[in-house]
Subunit: 216 residues, 2 copies
Amino acid sequence: MTAVRQTVRESLALYLVMGLGDFAGRQAVEIAREALEGGVTMLQLREKHAPLKQVIEQGAKIRELCRANGVPFIVNDRVDVALLLDADGVHVGQDDLPYGLARNLLGPDKIIGVSTGLWEEAVIAQRDGADYVGIGAVYATGTKSDAGAPIGTSLIAKTAEQLKLPIVGIGGIDAANAAQVVTAGADGVAVVSAITRHPQPKEAARELLKAIGKLK
Amino acid sequence: MTAVRQTVRESLALYLVMGLGDFAGRQAVEIAREALEGGVTMLQLREKHAPLKQVIEQGAKIRELCRANGVPFIVNDRVDVALLLDADGVHVGQDDLPYGLARNLLGPDKIIGVSTGLWEEAVIAQRDGADYVGIGAVYATGTKSDAGAPIGTSLIAKTAEQLKLPIVGIGGIDAANAAQVVTAGADGVAVVSAITRHPQPKEAARELLKAIGKLK
């Protein structure tokens, strides 16, 4: 296991999940750059609709920005895209490739995170060897149409108490509620619109880090 | 280049494209088995909605049936799934991974086909080195919601005359119109519902082969 997998827990502090569109006319790479300047500690590209040619082209630019900032770059769902972009890892939902198959393709050194909304899923993720779990949707979210009803912070608390997995909370998290998520036991918060739809992504990232006591 | 790539042209004769559901209660693997018994010469798994765990499980069974029948097994779009299933190749649409990137992941020996609806796309496919092009939608189809308006057989004819690419026609093809597609210049016909929604997939395959003069 390489350094990048060993330091996942710290990298989860402020995890930006972003697609390629819907930024009020701004480019995704611009949002990513400002968010990284603001202190984002991990970045996931989650784009399910754009042509893959565009995903690869834009993703390569964002990937380089992450590398320049020493921030892990993760691809959602598509292991083939992760391989082509030389991503640091993938994030898989319960309907994506199972952890073990993604690991077979990526090898032992990459980060693999798993979306978890149930205690049983968290137990399986730890058993399988996942590097972290994304637990949610913590709060109601308008970003992800299939995120399901919000589950609050109790699964985060139980997972933090009983399992050893690094945890990031996701779903409806912003500067106003981020502290609750970390207090419950999460190693960090994953956000989408709190940064991508903020007029100043850099400031948004700083506010979130401040809210969880990680602003340097 | 291995034998499997060299014989693509002959394998295109009757190309079954299938998902995993919507078979009036029958299992996909059962449809595949009967279709292969009927003489299908190539099979593509195109499933865009089912959980990938299910795609891998069902796909592995269909993959083995193809192997047992000496028929190339192709995966639509997802190169990662193709790698996990040890598929003989992938088929990419214009919004999927570009040919060259799919080739980088799959290596030189696998089959890569490209969907083509315009002359310019066919020219690019040949330039890039695609093993075949799927041209369509030839006729109106209810199977693929994003297939676009039917284009008839003229692009097949032009491609067959001016390019060296193996060609399979796709879109609304059945036993009644299959001969027209081959007469226009296609090396074969790709079908979905003409086999998968037929009460007797084996008979449907035989009828199609008969229609294009390939029934042995």
